[in-house]
Symmetry: C2
């Protein structure tokens, strides 16, 4: 394993090593089932609940793998990233557990609650203007000054190895699955799922679920090359980012299909999960169920793993308020 | 066990028999822990999540015990109750599973969603005026006509035996506890908890948690006799009903203390559980945590079971909306 080569293509052995490495710092999250959802879809669904994960999101896996895999001589300079969302939280969480510094570049317009949450885990917030040029300039400065190790939210083999531990646990708990479906933004969770399942259960089909309003992965998949959109608008705010070369490798090689859902379909599926399964999860996490409901023929009679990616949502601004 | 004598005082053997009887029809609900909540309270908390129970509430246990314990010659006439809430849902669920009829008398002013949910489980709704006299008259008519077996929401030994299976599972899963705390309305869950714990773990203290706005159980407990309020107003709408003779027996003999929480304390605790533990639960279910937070000295350093009683809440009318 080449720690410093971020374009290294990870193997299943890396996923297994990641799992041993991060187990003390992550939850083995529960798998929930629901008769109601099974009757609704005609499939047998196994919901892997990463909303119960540390930091409230699967990204604690990849971040913990990067942080705890850091060589001793790199520890002192800490880690850094740019993210206004779940990766910022997760990296701060993992760095806090290892007791190393973590700097996160966030737009000054990001919600105060998000900044406070990063600081709550011991992370340092450096603000930039809400533009790509400012973010890149400020981030370059942070790294030049601190020498911190950059942990990309998804285009980083250490992160993908960590995300791959999620479907590893799912497979171990429920046995062979006909399909696994996860939401896709940058493709970190989908890549980890491809990496793990293509090795331990090659007959399991991997589906990715994407908002129609941010369908760049879908269009990339159909075109055969990466198409990146500039700031698509969707309620599933974790899924706005584009594929990158390392995640494209996995998506283009292992994904069976990418399925789309409209904003209303996402909201409806989210409401249904909250109401029937009594769990708090993000709009992004509802996209898979939304696509299963509208593509029943693909999943009927099948055993399907559904990755519920996270639960970090503003409870005071739920999408069905005012409906 | 005297099936027809509703004032029979049940024993631990009845709880064990109830557990074997209802296991095929209920979930063994998960026990969740939270480092954040432990740090906040100084206690070690074990949340028994009955919000994940069938029908979304612990009452599926008692209702299933009553329905599946029904003698064959009583099956044909079915069961009946009056309730506009969780007991109505639970009894309909259980009756539906056994394939017998279930009639629920509900005020015509009850939310349509509640009536629809009862019908969804196969229950029959008979409407009454929203007054005690109308409810009693209509209910007497239903029973006279149908000969159905009346399953009271809590003042019924079969129901209490069923509720007692919840702490049985909790104790089996996490081992000896210093205390168990549950919300109190009519006292069905608290009575079942007393029945079970006083037998299998007599050193475990039982606390009941009650809204200050509906503190009739608290005042009864202090006075030494039942005090019943007429229609108290609290956001914890499952906890408005008074103690009755059978639940008073358990509460007066086995409860260590009854702790109170204000409406705002209940809302704050509910928000905290949703935000940090990512579970959907009712205001009633937040009363125990609210009282633990304000009585930290009672629980610090202790292993405490917390019964999360249910998750049936109107997602479009959450109490912090507009805060």
């Amino acid at each position: 394993m080449a720690e410093t080569n971020k374009m290294y293509i990870p193997t299943i052995d890396d996923v297994l090593a990641a799992h041993s490495r991060i187990q003390p710092y992550i939850h083995k999250t529960p798998v929930l089932t629901s008769k109601y959802m099974d009757q609704l879809t005609g499939a047998e669904l196994f919901f892997k609940c990463e909303n119960f994960q540390k930091a409230g999101v699967f990204k604690a896996r990849g971040a913990s793998n990067a942080v705890f895999g850091l060589a001793d001589d790199k520890v002192e300079k800490g880690v850094a990233t740019h993210s206004s969302g779940n990766h910022a939280l997760s990296l701060s969480y993992a760095a806090g557990r290892r007791g190393i510094s973590c700097t996160v570049v966030m737009p000054r317009t990001a919600p105060d609650a998000k900044k406070a949450a990063v600081r709550g885990y011991g992370g340092k917030v450096v603000e930039c203007e809400p533009s790509t040029s400012s973010r890149e300039a400020v981030f370059a400065e942070v790294v030049a000054e601190s020498g911190a190790d950059f942990v990309h939210p998804y285009n980083d083999h250490r992160v993908i190895e960590g995300q791959g531990t999620c479907s590893l646990e799912l497979h171990e708990e429920v046995g062979p699955l006909d399909a696994v479906i996860a939401p896709i933004g940058g493709g970190g969770m989908v890549s980890g799922t491809c990496l793990t399942m293509s090795n331990i259960s090659p007959s399991t089909k991997i589906y990715a679920a994407e908002p129609k309003n941010a369908d760049d992965a879908y269009r990339s998949f159909k075109a055969g090359y990466i198409i990146a959109d500039d700031a698509p608008q969707t309620i599933a705010d974790g899924l706005k980012v584009p594929l990158k070369d390392l995640t494209w490798h996995f998506v283009s090689n292992h994904v069976e299909d990418i399925l789309l859902a409209t904003e209303q379909e996402i909201i409806d599926a989210m409401y249904l999960i909250w109401q029937r399964m009594k769990i708090v999860m993000e709009p992004s996490s509802a996209v898979p169920l939304a696509t299963i409901i509208k593509n029943k023929e693909l999943f009927a009679g099948k055993r399907v793993g559904v990755i519920v990616t996270g639960g970090n949502v503003d409870l005071k601004k739920l999408p069905w308020m005012g409906l």
